[in-house]
Symmetry: C2
Subunit: 156 residues, 2 copies
Amino acid sequence: MRMEEGAMHRTTIAKAARQADVGVETIRFYERKALIERPPRPAFGGYREYPAATIERVRFIRQAQKLGFSLGEIGDLLSLSADPSADCADVRERARVKLGEVEDKISRLIEIRHALDELIDACPGSGALGACSIMESLMGQGTQSAGTRPGKEKRP
Amino acid sequence: MRMEEGAMHRTTIAKAARQADVGVETIRFYERKALIERPPRPAFGGYREYPAATIERVRFIRQAQKLGFSLGEIGDLLSLSADPSADCADVRERARVKLGEVEDKISRLIEIRHALDELIDACPGSGALGACSIMESLMGQGTQSAGTRPGKEKRP
DNA sequence: CCTAAGACCTGTAGTAACTATAGGTTCAAG
DNA sequence: CTTGAACCTATAGTTACTACAGGTCTTAGG
């Protein structure tokens, strides 16, 4: 029972998705976004088949996303990888920019955490909303900080 | 030039937006989302006018957003504030939940920062992409185990 | 051989929180 | 009385998917 091309291993979209650890719809979505190539449908019937290189590419996309890159940025990175004149320094620079963005986000979130912390701490914890210091501070204008209460220990 | 109703102080949408420190389109957007009331157009011509309470509400929304609340959550908060049986503890609980979410986000971003840091550090800084350790790490296998995904494309 | 299940296909609509048009009306000044 | 600004409604775009609807294709069972 010989089969040319190893027929039982035909990588249809569902298998490709499993190999790249994404959903089928995600693959189709990347195709629509032109991040990956769309395998043509075989001329004489059958489903589209995904070459290993395409699955690799999807994995690349997911890895880059985990580092905070957007699909647009990842598209750039992928074009870069196809460019023989591209230099490593270019990639590193993009990573540095991303790092800066991540650091900014962290700072903003830490400020939010601090504000929430103070509000939660200052809140009496029961009673009508008219007396709720959290609601009050939201009603109050812009750059207002929460009312202070005795000491609050700091979080590491 | 006397005018009934203090004509020069009519708060049209642009003035309301300025007072709440948002764009005109944002006000209209909140109206569509039913977060604020839509002042009716005067029966006999003229523009819609925004009462102070509505502008307050917009400010409330912006303040709550700064703490990381989504518009959906803010809608709940606003309903709560209209409910005489609502308790301060309820608001505080929502703040606590939000604080938890913010902390999770911070942790995830710190992990990303760490990963980027290491990649940048390990990168040779020049040379072809074939030798770029950042690209390599993106190409390389992620935390991948083939078939971790459910066979069927439905997730709970 | 026929049927039914399941995987595939295309295309569209929904999510969050706006922003930005297009195309029309109304108002205030010159 | 004519600009020009501000208003009005309605729609499309953004991000990264997800979830259908409604059809086609393949394959396993009877």
